[in-house]
Each structure stands twice: as C-alpha cells, then as structure tokens.
Symmetry: C2
Subunit: 344 residues, 2 copies
DNA sequence: CTGTTAGCGCTTTCAG
DNA sequence: CTGAAAGCGCTAACAG
C-alpha cells in the first residue's frame, strides 16, 4: 500500500536515459537542451509512473524551497484572512506555497517564527502588521531574506511594503463628517508605534484646521491596541472628559465596534446622538447595528501585491519596492447629518 | 552580509569532534549516548555559532518534514480562522509548521493542493469541510498519509475526524424554539453531501415528532451551499410556498444571515414576526441585528484536537481516531416567545 | 544533446 | 562513547 515514492532514477531507468537527462527534460527552463523525442518519452513515462519531484532534495540542492512564510498577528482577526488569501493564491499560481504563523503581536514570538521559518529555508517573508521599528523584520531583511510588509510599514524604507493611501482615507472620512455638519469630532487614535496609527492621526491633525474641525485635545483618545476593548475604554475616556462631540472617527473598525458597544451601554444612540466612522471595512461590519460607515481598504489586493513584490525580489529584483493602494469611503448607517439646531 | 549558513560540520570542527557526534549531541533522543561534557560543549558552540539545522537535509534524510498541510475551502470564511489557529498553535508547540491551502470548495483544486503538498513531503493533512465522499481525502489516507478531517467527516470511518455532537446541537435549538411556543418551524437545511448538512437535517426529522413540531414538507428548504446567498434564496422559497411558520432553524450562521437579510427586505420583523436560529456561533454574529441565537461549536478546540490526533498518527498510532466535541446553545435576540394568541 | 561526477547537510548503521 | 562511511534525491558543472 505504501508504494515507494518514484524517483528521478526510476523514471530514468524506465526511459533508458540518465537521471540528469530526466531532470533536464522535466525542467521547462532546460527542456530546450534535450532532444524533443526524449523529452516526450520522459514526460510520458514520468506521468505514467506518477513521478513527483522530492521537494527536500530540490531544496537541499538549490537552497530554494518555493515556500514563503506569512506571519500575521492573529489569523482570527478578520482583516487578515483576505490578505492571506491574496498571498496564497498569487503564490500558488507561481508554484510557491505559504507557511503560516501567528505572533499574537508578540515580538519574541515573531522572532521565533522567523527563525524557525528561516531554518526551513523559506525563500521570503510576508509580514503583516509590523510595528514601525520592527527589529525582526529589519534583521531578516538585512540578513538577505526577501521581506515585504503588508498593511503597515517600517519607518525604514529599505524594507518593501504594501500599504494604503492613509491620508486619502482620513480626508474622505473627515470630509464626509464635516459635510454632514459635524465640527466637534472626537478621535480614537490607533497605537502610535504602528504606521497606520501614526499616519492616520497625523492626517487628522493636518486636515483639522482646513476643514474647520474643533481643535480640542480632550477630543483625542489613544488606543493601546486595535481591539474592541480598547475602543470601549477610549470611548469612556472621551466621555469622562466632558468635552462634547457629535461624531467619532476611529482608527479602525474594531475600535469603532468597541465604541459602538460602549455607546450602546450608555444609551447614547448611534447615529441619533453621535455618528461613528471606522476604518478598514472588515467583513461583517455592514451587518452590525448600525451598519458601519468606514474606509474600505483592499485587503485581498494587498496580499496579491505583496506576493508579487516578493516573487520579484526572489527573482533578483534587488531594490525594495513600495506599493500604495487607493481607498474608498463606504457610507452606511452609523453616520447622519446633524440637524441645524444641533450644529455647534 | 549574506553570511554563509553554519552547518553541522562547522560546529563539529569548532568543537573538535565528528559531525555525527554533534548530531547526536543535539538530538534530545540520542543525547544520552554522548559524553555529558561533550554535549555541553557542543550545545554551547552551536549556540555561539548560531547553528540552525537545515530542514531540507533533515527532511531528505529522514523523509519527515515536520510540516503539515492544512486545507480549508476558504480562509475568508470566518469559521475557519479559529480552527486554523488551533491547529497552528498545537503544531508549533511540537515543532511542526502548517502550510495553508484554499480550495474554494473545488475538488480539483483540492486534489492539486494535496498533490503539491505531498510532493513536498508533508507529514500529514488536516482537511476542513470535506464532503461525505471525498475522493481526495480517501486517496490520501489510503496512500499512507495521516489525514484528519475537521468540522465534517467522511462517511468512511477509516479516516480520522474531529466533529461536533450534531444531534445535541439540533435538539437544543429545537427545544429552545418549542419552549418559546413555536410549532411551525421552517428549516433551511445545509448541503446534503456534507456530514453536517445531512446529520442536522436527520436530527431535525428525528426530533420533530417528539417535540410536537409541525410535519410539513413545505417547511424544509435545501441550500446548495453554506452561503448567505443560499440563505436568502431558501427564505424566498419558503415564503413562496405559503405555508406559515413562526421560526426558522438554519443549518448554519451564514444561511441564517442570508435569511435575516431576506426577511428584512420583505419587512418581516425578526424576532417580532419570526424567530431565527443559526448554527456555529461564528465571530460577529453577536453584533449583527438582531444578535443571532445560535449553536456554539468549538472551532478553535477542533483545530487543537485535530493537530493532536495527527501528531499521534504520525508517531505511529495506526488506528483512525474520532473526536466528537460538545456544543452549547447561545440565546440572543433573534428568538422570542410567541404570544399566546399567535400560538398555532 | 547526453552521461558522469560531485555534493547540498543531515542521520544512521556499523565498527571500534 | 565516538568516528567513518554511506546515502536520502536532486541539480549543476564538466566532459564527451
């Protein structure tokens, strides 16, 4: 039952040629150098015998594994599966496979994973949601492993990345709120050691004056993590400060969901009393109550681009590359126009 | 910069011993056979040199890769990430890595993936959501690859599986509805070529009489897939048939979400006019409107168990093993008691 | 165009 | 307890 694996040698013997000829005949890159008739016979026989090249031998010999490591903080966080899917599909189309790791946002764990992956000779690394100064990512890149970060980027432009046009997203969200009459807009900012957290806040601050948004430090709360729990906590913090606001701009959807939950608990109606905007348009936020107005990013496409960049780097494109994808605003039920009387 | 990888030989040379001694000293299983002092020196030097064993060489030599393939229909379907996470974490604790593939429910794709994974010498396979007769799974298992299916199982008990107590889940859901006064309960059944679809329907039919639920074939609709779209379609089908019902039992949450959407479009209130029960308790269904009453399954734990079974099989536990996990009912806002006047 | 040779880095007999 | 030797299956020079 456990029929022995058929090797190159077996095919060679059956075809009456040498193993190296079989190797050449089966590799599209070297096939041209072999007699066409031989190629045909070899291909046929290898198929009949059910020959499957041994990846370990290939890898040992060439020190390429056709495997790339994909590291996310937590695949259970709904923003990652589409990205992973984009990576996986693109990779597969090129004969590469994805090996997956979760860090739980822990750098030590990330370090271990990268070490483990490197030991098994991965050809490259896709790192989702690194921090702005991510030693692990930097070291891997410095060590010669092709690396591309996705969703966020390092401050160091040496490492390839795929991210979104943060400024454009923030501007759209704010313009929307302002057009609805909101001026006292609170912000739940993301962790400032992440590129997204820092850039989104920076954009808010930059556009605040231009758009006529109230400049009040009491309206800015800082989340320590992109979690529902932090969203709730920040909302409480904003309320305790007693600076009135009619809308909240959240640095991501999970913070927004937390804020919504806390609002509900305090019997503050959304969008009746306060409008809420999220960021990411992660799955299901169109089905929650109220359906969330948010900035849509291209999770899947990010994965596709990341894989493409990685593949190019593996094929020797030395330079780091950076892709920046456009975003769009998705208006749903969590934002509404201020009645004239309410306008402040 | 691209410092050459340090090999066993390098460590051996530095330690003044033979490579095979280093190999023995570094392997916990054979370490006992080496002089303690030598072990210590070797370990120390290998650490100082930053020695990382070459996985390809190990794999070529032993034909074990410490890698297992995890195949899901679509990682973007929210029920899979927790399961994948459970597998990954358990595997990692044992020095194994997970390589991920998506099939989109396509058997041909599944076949390709399994072939690809097998070629790279995976030590085992976790297959999520196979059909009852899944050739690919059967063939892989027959071919000697340790296989465990998760979430669903084959009709063939030869292949290990981790599933839930379907009958218990269905009974809880129905008992809940009946206790609320519902007797005319419609069913949106899952695909019957899946174990979950078939078993949940079978349980419904079995308990229907005992519980005093109306026996009316017009109240059963069959979904062709576990998708929101099919949920919507089935709901329309049920309505068109003009057989009244006060509650709907859906074979999974996505069908329920679709049903909810279709209900909303027709201005039928849930739970006001009709109660809805889902199945799985997938992430976010507690935040939708109305929060979904559903049967909670242990996605994460399934992954953990699957990995454990697989590891045991790899270590030579010949027999197939089957784990069946308990479920619980989570009552939320989508179900409510029938007023006495409404009771049919 | 094809065969020969060597060796990737590791584990595992087999001697000693 | 340790060294020597062989070889897993493959590719990449190098001859011919």
């Amino acid at each position: 039952m456990t029929r022995k694996r058929v090797t190159l040698r077996d095919v060679a013997a059956a075809a009456g040629v040498h193993a190296s000829t079989v190797s050449r005949a089966l590799d599209p890159r070297t096939r041209a150098r072999v007699n066409a008739a031989v190629v045909q016979r070899v291909v046929e026989i290898s198929e009949r015998l059910g020959y499957r090249p041994n990846a370990a031998a290939y890898s040992l010999r060439t020190s390429r594994s056709r495997t790339i490591g994909v590291i996310v903080p937590d695949i259970e966080n709904p923003i990652f599966p589409p990205m992973v899917r984009g990576v996986e599909r693109t990779l597969l189309a090129h004969g590469y496979y994805a090996i997956l790791g979760n860090t739980d946002g822990d750098q030590a764990r990330e370090h271990m994973l990268v070490k483990g992956f490197t030991a098994r000779g991965i050809d490259g690394l896709v790192l989702a949601s690194v921090n702005r100064e991510d030693r692990v990512a930097r070291d891997a890149a410095l060590g010669g492993t092709p690396v591309v970060t996705v969703n966020r980027r390092l401050d160091d432009p040496t490492v390839s990345s795929v991210v979104h046009m943060e400024d454009s997203g923030v501007l759209r969200a704010l313009t929307h709120l302002v057009s609805l009459g909101h001026r006292r807009i609170a912000v739940i900012a993301g962790p400032q050691d992440t590129s997204t957290g820092a850039e989104r806040l920076e954009s808010f601050l930059r556009h605040r004056e231009t758009l006529g948004i109230a400049d009040d430090p009491r309206l800015i709360a800082f989340a320590g993590a992109y979690s529902e729990g932090e969203g709730e906590r920040c909302l409480e913090e904003l309320i305790v400060r007693r600076a009135p606001f009619t809308a909240i701009f959240c640095a991501n959807d999970r913070l927004a969901i937390g804020a919504l939950a806390a609002l509900g608990r305090r019997n503050v109606a959304c969008p009746g009393d306060v409008s809420v905007v999220g960021y990411n348009d992660m799955p299901m936020v169109d089905r929650i109550h109220p359906p969330l107005t948010t900035v849509r990013v291209q999770q899947y496409q990010m994965g596709v681009e990341a894989a493409a960049i990685l593949l190019a780097m593996i094929d020797g494109a030395g330079e780091a590359r950076h892709a920046v994808l456009p975003v769009e605003l998705v208006i749903r039920g969590s934002t509404r126009a201020l009645a004239a009387a309410e306008a402040g």
